[in-house]
Each structure stands twice: as C-alpha cells, then as structure tokens.
Assembly symmetry: C2
Homo-oligomer: 200 residues x 2
Amino acid sequence: MTTDSCKQPRLLPRDRIVEAARELFRRRGIRGTGVDAIADAASSNKMTLYRHFNSKDELIVECLQRAGMEMDGFWRELEDAHPGDGLAQLRAWVRRIAEHLGDDNCHCEMMSAAVQLTDEDHPGRSVIRKFKDAQRDRVVVLCRKAGVANAELLCDTLLLLIEGARVAQQSSGVQGPSARFAEIADAAILSFSGSGAVPR
Amino acid sequence: MTTDSCKQPRLLPRDRIVEAARELFRRRGIRGTGVDAIADAASSNKMTLYRHFNSKDELIVECLQRAGMEMDGFWRELEDAHPGDGLAQLRAWVRRIAEHLGDDNCHCEMMSAAVQLTDEDHPGRSVIRKFKDAQRDRVVVLCRKAGVANAELLCDTLLLLIEGARVAQQSSGVQGPSARFAEIADAAILSFSGSGAVPR
DNA sequence: CGAAAATGTTACTGGTCGGTAACACCGTCG
DNA sequence: CGACGGTGTTACCGACCAGTAACATTTTCG
C-alpha cells in the first residue's frame, strides 16, 4: 500500500528506516514527516526506530551524513572518469547535476534541510556546514587544476549557480531559469578557463 | 516579553497578524510556527486571526502576496532612481540584494516558502510561481533595455545567482560563496553587456 | 448617547506529534 | 534445549496543533 522503495531487498531495519526517512523528507519535508510515517514506509515500527536513533533529530543527522557520503562517492566517480583533469571533472560535475535537476531525487537534501532546519543549533546544521565547506575546498582545487586564473571566483560562481538552479526549480519549476543551468555554468567555466590557459 | 516589531504603531489587527506571521515564518519556519504564536506575537488572539483568515494556509498566501508587493515597490524605486536605464537598474538591483544578504530579513520569503510548502497543491505555490514569472519578465526586459546580446541568458544567470546566494547563505553562512555574490553578478552583467553593445 | 461592528477571552474539540513502557515474537548460537 | 539480542505489537503519555463556540469587551460611528 505504501509507496516504498527499499523493502524488497531486505536491508537491515536501520538502513530501511534511514532510506525511508530520506525519501519522505524529500517529498513531504522534514517537519512534515512524522516518525510513525517513517517507520511505516520502512516496513518497520517506531520502537525499532527509537532503538537505533535516540531522537528524530539524530535520524535527521544520519540522513544528512548519508547524503554527504553519497556525494563523496559521486566525486570519486568523477576523479576516476577523468583522473587528474580538473576541467573535465568540473564539466562532468555540471553536466551530471543538470541531468539530475528534474529527478525526484535531485540531490538537494542539504539545501532543503538548510532551509527547513530553522533552529540555529540543530545538530544537522553542522553536518550541512561541514559538507558545504568540504565541497567548496574540493571545487576550488579542481578549478586550480583546471588552470583557471581566479579559481576561488569560478568556484563560488559555480556553487551559487548550482544552489540557485536547485532552488529555482522549487520556485519556478523545471521550465524556469534552472532549465538553462548547464548552458550558463558551461559558459562560466569557459569564460574563466578561456581567459587563462585557453583550449582550442 | 515577546520580540514584537509592529505593536507600538497600532496597526490594524489584520496587518499586525500578517507582519507577525511573516517574522515568525522567517525565524521558525512556516510549519514550525503555530497560529497561537502568531496571534500572541501580533498582540492579538486566535479568534481575530480566524475572523480575517479562514485558515492558516490563507494567512500564508497573504504573507506571500504582501512580500511580492514589497518587491514590486522595490522595483518601482529602481525605475525611479534610474529611469529608462536598464543597465543601471540591473546593477542597483544586484547591489541592493547583496546589501540585504546578511539581514535577518533578506527577502527570501518566496524561496523559503517554495522549499517548505512541500504540498504541490498548496495555494501559496501559485503565488510564488506567478511572482517568479513576473520577476523573470521584468528582468529580461531590463536586460534588453541594457542592450545585452542574449538578454534571456543574462536574466536567467542573474536569477540563478541570486537564488543561489540566498540559499547558500542558509547552508554556508555569510562567509560562504554568497559573500562574493555582488562581485560575481557584476562580472556576469559586464561580460554580457561588454560583448554586445559595448559601452565606452 | 446608543447601536453595531470589531476585537478580546476562555474553554473546548479532535487530531497529530515525538517519545516511552510492557510484552510478545523470532532467529541465532551455545 | 535454552538463553539472548534484535524485532514487532499495542497502548499509552503529555504536548502541541488547527480550528470553533459562546460570551465579554472595546471601538467606531451615526
């Protein structure tokens, strides 16, 4: 009856709960999702949930950490596909983000959580903060490897464009400004790398 | 006791309620703010609230509409300050957004609501959508007036950068990528207007 | 003034929330 | 076999939620 996605392959209850929570948080929002609904969607129950997590907030933290780990794997794939080539990795990064923009899971858990976790002291906020800082470091290194003149500026430009594309999709739909994200981001990369070590 | 901001000048109860709601929505989130808290903050009570609004959702809609009207006034100021000069209006727009980025009220009510109103059919979503569409139309007209070659592309670039700056501030704080928003947006305007009908 | 409208007060409903207690079930391993 | 750890079930708690009813009070205005 429930729209599940992780019951068949008999994952451990803990993993089913986390994945069910992530999906529900995406669809209904964090505050709009009750622990009962999470336990149901995970084909488990509230008691098992609270045996693994002392509170809903702890579960939220785990969800964010897992999302961060998935992104880490994502970056590793890029490095494997274009080893040492910062420019190619940047381009591939932009392309894959653009591809996922329309998905139901568009990898915007961090962004959504950052907006929904209004409490400044929520434990999830430090997870978001650390992830974003690490992401920024990674991207700026790629920009340097790509040989662009002002690596920090291109880095922040891309980060703003990406976050903007994700949130603009929530506001204006897929036909809004985010539809041209790939085009815009590519142009940014080109303009920065073109003025430095110019390709072709 | 309560951190009010609109009780002294004895506004109408309806206006006090809307303004109190907007402030609480900003600080605690929409789902995290109860109607009792809104009525209290407005130095009013739940009954008067429900005499003016049939539901909390109606109040949310009114808050979004009022936020949109404030932005309209904002645009009118820009037109008055730089009549007919699209390029100057674009620049002033970017500058003022950058100035407000650090504020507690950074004019991101629409964006926050777009993320928090997870229900696709929530009446507030159409308000957001209409506002964003109108904003896009306005900006693209300004870009054309500014004489840039690809007005639509500069328009969407700026819109993505702005939304990105606002949400990046939630994720990474004021010292994150959004700190360089003005610099980045100015560079975008320059690169577009410089390559088309070049000034000077 | 006096009536009518708007506002305030209290108390209540039915539902949901996060979180817990007590107990039953079930597979694993000794 | 029996003990045990992980899991499921039911019921419950106090707090909060959106929304309403009945009544008292204040404000507005003819």
